[in-house]
Assembly symmetry: C2
Homo-oligomer: 284 residues x 2
């Protein structure tokens, strides 16, 4: 797609300074650290708790989004972020013999560290994609290029500098190719979300994917729907509505004049306005 954009003759923004390109391996490096921290967590807690701790990255994404990208979040938006975490967690509760609070403190500390690393990599990627109006596909080439490079180095380390090539496509059938295509499109989509929307929308997309997967599993594999999943979906939906509801604190005290009121009645939907007027009268 980058080459298509280049051929099209339109002006394509591509920053090729080394100082700019060298910012792109950083997310890959963070993910290397992050992946290793996962094993430390699993060393201390069980699989259910590990999965539940993973939801903390919703809150840490909110915190780092606010701190590093300097985006102020309203009170309802903070509530929405906590609610999404609660909703995601809720749907994962088995309830039967769960012992989420009974692990060594190290397990939780590594869980929190992991949540911050994951969120930081996401926020940093958003910063990279937004910092200039470079073509998205050129940015992707750098982002995923370094990712591929680091993975290739790891394979070379495991299998030897040349024989890793024969290992690379071992056991590939059409299902594997479909999965690869799926991941590739998902990757392009996520870059697109982070450049043109933000990391919070990405968090909502990821959580929605989890809920949709759960619902499809019930439909396809005949699993019994759990109350936890149902409650989780309601909570996450309210969180989404709340986050994107256009709200402002009432403290600003805007008041309408007779003149502007006439203007409004002329313009807007009358039924809801009548309601408003009714309210006003009842409080008189």
């Amino acid at each position: 797609m980058l080459s298509k954009a280049l051929r099209s003759g339109e002006r394509v923004n591509m920053t090729t300074q080394t100082s700019s390109i060298l910012l792109f391996p950083i997310p890959s490096i963070i993910y290397v650290v992050h992946n290793n921290v996962q094993f430390y967590i699993m060393n201390y807690v069980d699989a259910a708790t590990y999965q539940i701790l993973g939801n903390l990255k919703i809150v840490t994404t909110g915190v780092l989004f606010y701190l590093f990208l300097n985006k102020p979040l309203s009170k309802p938006q903070w509530m929405a972020i906590v609610l999404l975490t609660v909703g995601a967690t809720m749907s994962q509760v088995k309830g039967c013999g769960d012992s989420v609070f009974s692990w060594p403190i190290q397990g939780y500390l590594f869980g929190i560290l992991s949540a911050f690393l994951s969120a930081f990599a996401g926020i940093y990627t958003e910063f990279l994609l937004k910092k200039n109006n470079d073509n998205l596909y050129w940015q992707n080439v750098q982002l995923y290029g370094f990712g591929a490079l680091f993975n290739m180095l790891r394979l070379m380390y495991d299998f030897g500098p040349l024989s890793f090539l024969s290992e690379l496509t071992r056991g590939f059938n059409y299902v594997v190719w479909l999965i690869i295509a799926n991941f590739a499109f998902a990757g392009l989509m996520i870059s697109w979300i982070q450049k043109y929307a933000d990391s919070i929308l990405k968090v909502y997309a990821t959580s929605s994917a989890m809920f949709i997967t759960a619902v499809i599993s019930i439909a396809l594999f005949g699993l019994e729907p759990s109350l936890q999943l149902f409650l989780g979906i309601i909570t996450a939906t309210i969180s989404l509505l709340l986050y994107y509801l256009p709200l402002a604190p009432a403290s600003a005290a805007p008041v309408v004049t007779v003149r502007s009121r006439e203007k409004i009645v002329g313009g807007g939907s009358s039924s809801s306005l009548d309601e408003e007027a009714g309210k006003k009268n009842s409080e008189d």
Copy 2:
């Protein structure tokens, strides 16, 4: 307390018209029907589902509050009411072998009916307590007087018209008296909440009581704290904050003039009016 108020020499409002007094047995009658519906529900569902269905009265209280008392609720307030229901339900999920969705439809229909009856009795009581500025204790005398009367009639039916008196205090020890005193004070408190606040605050008070009971049980009886309870408390807390957060839809350009503002502020409660004005602007 009524007699104290009467002795104090201040003017005490007491409407003694029959047409007014005859409104007070109605909640008692609704509760009689409600209590019988409970047995129909239990006929169809298990104890866990019965308990969980009980939370529906939070939503029905919101709906009837809006319909009968003509109180408009904002979008975040509706979200808060659903969230409180979710939070209360969540804390009751056992998760282990729960089969909340697998009962005959009648069980759910009676559950919904029960939720509406319970909410209607509550909303109607609020209406009764607020419809005039009668002394609260005179209102309580009528409200609980009819309640006591109906219960006495039932006891007379069970034990005979006179011998019920000897049954009345059988087995009473100091613990029973403490419980009675507790219920009496709780009853006064609820009347007070419904007269001076509203049924929604009552719902929050009841839910808080449930969470506080759960937390105290953990502290006193050494029960293991569950993740469900933890998530339920977070959700209910956010619900409470959201419901009472002073919010208005964000307005693109609030129009303020000094003249009209003075007029409106002179008329009613200024904070809620500011909210209304904010809404108006957003519809511009």
